[in-house]
């Protein structure tokens, strides 16, 4: 008889952690140290527009990848849009942002033209990095997006350096860095926590805890469940929020940004969220059941926000108008990207150095 016991998925779920978004498994309560004032329906409708646009762009990109038009590793943030949009609306265009390879949502939320996003992923000359960076390297300095990154946690000290620069110049800009749950166990993360805390840097560490690191649930590799408690050791104010509610994200980042701007130093936000698509295009998703995913779909941030708007007397017609506008935005972006030329071959050799 085999000594290796098979763990069934329901047992796994039992052994796994309880933090979740779907109705029966609510996020572990951490009383927020900030208010969540309701945003105006105008702002919420704008947020809905951007979140839906992100969703549509990424659905298009997944289709393009399955047609073989996109190579490499392409990661979408389907189901995680509220994190990007709530944070972008809570910060200023001149604040600095770095994030991971899963960065289309942040790029669009910051204000990068979705046509340039798609063009970049397709490797076209009109992409935000002229086709040289691809999906994992979104960049848009005009909107503060200083780069998305292919190496887990590498972007974290970059944001701390930007925060340091802002402070040295006496500016009240802040830096915001996004990373996943898996990034918490990269050493550079902890190195940066310490320096940011010691130097009281105006930086926000924002963890998008989607509960998986690639194909492995975080509870399978993490010694502790409450990831947001780590930075507390360094004296960093640290909270856990529901990352699928854009109003909560907005309130949390506004609060953290205010702290940073007023010299109170770094804040860590663990946002519980869930990625409804695979880790990357082509992911077989053998590590989770379709039931689990469908269950979590009830907490889809777009549904949450849509319901919020209906509850606040925004009509179905008004929402349909937004949805139509998003369809047009997408069509324009796709048209722009698909008709853009490939980069000139000489481009392969430029930009190694700034001349």
């Amino acid at each position: 008889m085999s000594v290796v016991k098979t763990i069934t998925s329901s047992q796994e779920r039992k052994r796994g952690w309880s933090i979740s978004l779907a109705p029966d498994l609510l996020p572990v309560e951490v009383p927020p140290p900030f208010d969540v004032p309701p945003l105006s329906v105008e702002v919420l409708q704008k947020m809905y527009h951007v979140m839906l646009l992100i969703r549509r762009v990424e659905e298009y990109l997944l289709d393009a990848a399955s047609e073989g038009r996109i190579g490499g590793a392409m990661h979408t943030a389907i189901g995680m849009e509220a994190n990007a949009v709530g944070a972008a609306f809570a910060t200023r265009p001149d604040d600095y942002v770095t994030c991971t390879y899963r960065g289309h949502h942040h790029a669009i939320a910051r204000g990068l033209d979705p046509g340039q996003v798609i063009a970049e992923v397709l490797g076209k000359a009109s992409g935000c990095a002229r086709g040289k960076g691809g999906s994992m390297h979104m960049v848009d300095p005009e909107h503060g997006l200083m780069g998305t990154n292919g190496v887990v946690a590498a972007q974290v000290p970059h944001a701390a350096g930007m925060a340091l620069a802002a402070r040295m110049r006496g500016e009240d800009r802040i830096a915001l860095t996004f990373f996943g749950d898996g990034a918490i166990y990269q050493g550079v993360m902890h190195e940066t926590f310490n320096i940011a805390a010691k130097w009281k840097l105006p930086v926000i560490f924002y963890m998008e805890n989607n509960k998986y690191s690639e194909m492995t649930p975080i509870w399978r590799t993490s010694a502790i469940e409450d990831l947001y408690t780590f930075p507390k050791v360094y004296g960093i104010e640290s909270i856990r929020i529901n990352g699928n509610d854009v109003e909560i994200v907005h309130a949390a980042v506004s609060w953290a940004a205010e702290r940073a701007r007023s010299g109170e130093g770094p804040t860590f936000i663990e946002a519980i969220t869930y990625r409804l698509a695979g880790h990357m295009a082509g992911d077989l998703e053998t590590y989770r059941t379709p039931e689990e995913r469908e269950h979590q779909r009830q907490a889809d941030p777009l549904l949450v926000l849509r319901q919020k708007l209906l509850d606040r007397n925004v009509t179905e017609e008004a929402l349909a108008r937004i949805e139509e506008a998003v369809a047009q935005d997408l069509a324009r972006a796709v048209e722009f990207a698909e008709t853009s030329p490939w980069p000139d071959i000489a481009e392969a050799y430029t930009d190694v150095f700034h001349l």
Binding site: R130, K132, V139, G161, V188
Partner: protein
């Protein structure tokens, strides 16, 4: 003509930092022991007093974080200079240097570029052993996106460090622990000059053989050249590369055109090293200039031992340089 004065390599570096920090308030320094102590090798001494703790910062022993932070600060317009206590430790932050800093401008299609300097000392000769003595110039030169500078004289050290700080790209600035107390002629403080990155210089003219080298090996090469001239009547031309990447092959080939012989010498490993690169390029680009096989001399493929005689055995210094040159000149007889 500027009145020159004698000063040390160490002092020249210190002056370069001070003058650049006075000239440009975007320049700042981060590293271990750099502020209050003034740097383990004293390169940053007295800078804290003049520029304050906002611009001269002691970091924790977190190379990944503070090199990554230098990237971030440079990306938004600052000009950080990070000191690494021993260049060996840059390997702890290899991701930040090779994957991040070296690629950032390219990956962003030129939207973000990084005016930063990573400086520190490397090299053997002081019995520091395997993890505090290696030379990484060949490793750094292997990657695109990093300028690699390794000056040997106080004049070049000051001029190149100023140029590195003013450059809009990442520069790995390699000092050598044997050089800090060597002296040379340098213009007085505040006589502003730079030495252009990417320009080699003939440090000793000669007719028989071109010896290309850089960093501390230059001093060993010059000493070897004197002895070869005295004892054997062999006249070696010594070319100081000064910048390893980009490589000034023009100056090297011009010298080889005069001598017909080429030897590249450095303290990083010979295997897959800068010398191999120089020799390969010579055969690709100027084979007709070579009267005899071009050669290279670098470290043998062993970690660096502490024991004095063992370390002296493997360092590609004067004794080995002379032996190699003599072999090559013997070939002259064979080929003639």
């Amino acid at each position: 003509m500027v009145q020159m004065r004698k000063t040390t390599y160490l002092q020249a570096l210190n002056e370069a930092l001070r003058e650049e920090m006075r000239r440009d308030e975007r320049v700042f320094i981060m590293g271990e022991d750099v502020a209050y102590y003034g740097g383990l090798f004293r390169v940053t001494r007295n800078l804290l007093e003049e520029f304050g703790p906002q611009r001269v910062m002691d970091t924790p022993i977190s190379e990944q974080a503070f090199i990554g932070m230098a990237l971030g600060a440079a990306a938004v317009g600052m000009r950080p200079v990070v000191e690494i206590m021993y260049m060996d430790f840059t390997l702890v932050a290899a991701d930040q240097i090779f994957n991040q800093i070296g690629k950032y401008a390219y990956m962003t299609g030129g939207r973000v570029y990084l005016p930063l300097v990573i400086r520190g000392q490397q090299g053997g000769g002081k019995n520091y052993g395997s993890q505090h003595s290696q030379s990484l110039d060949s490793l750094y030169a292997h990657f695109p996106g990093l300028r690699v500078v390794a000056p040997a004289t106080p004049y070049d050290a000051k001029g190149l460090l100023k140029a590195a700080i003013r450059d809009d790209n990442p520069v790995v600035f390699l000092e050598h622990k044997m050089l800090y107390f060597t002296t040379g002629e340098v213009p007085p403080p505040d006589v502003d000059y730079t030495v252009p990155i990417g320009l080699a210089e003939v440090k000793r003219p000669g007719r028989d053989l071109t010896l290309v080298t850089y960093s501390y090996c230059l001093l060993e090469a010059l000493a070897a050249a004197e002895e070869l001239a005295e004892k054997y009547g062999i006249d070696v031309e010594v070319v100081d590369l000064r910048t390893v990447n980009p490589m000034d092959t023009e100056t090297i080939w011009a010298s080889v055109a005069r001598t017909g012989r080429l030897l590249a010498v450095h303290e990083s490993y010979a295997n897959c090293g800068v010398g191999a690169e120089i020799v390969a390029r010579a055969y690709e680009e100027v084979p007709h200039l070579l009267k005899a096989p071009a050669r290279r001399l670098g470290m043998p493929p062993v970690p660096i031992p502490v024991s004095r005689p063992l370390e002296q055995e493997i360092l590609p210094w004067k004794r080995h340089i002379m032996a190699t040159v003599l072999e090559m000149m013997h070939e002259r007889v064979a080929y003639a």
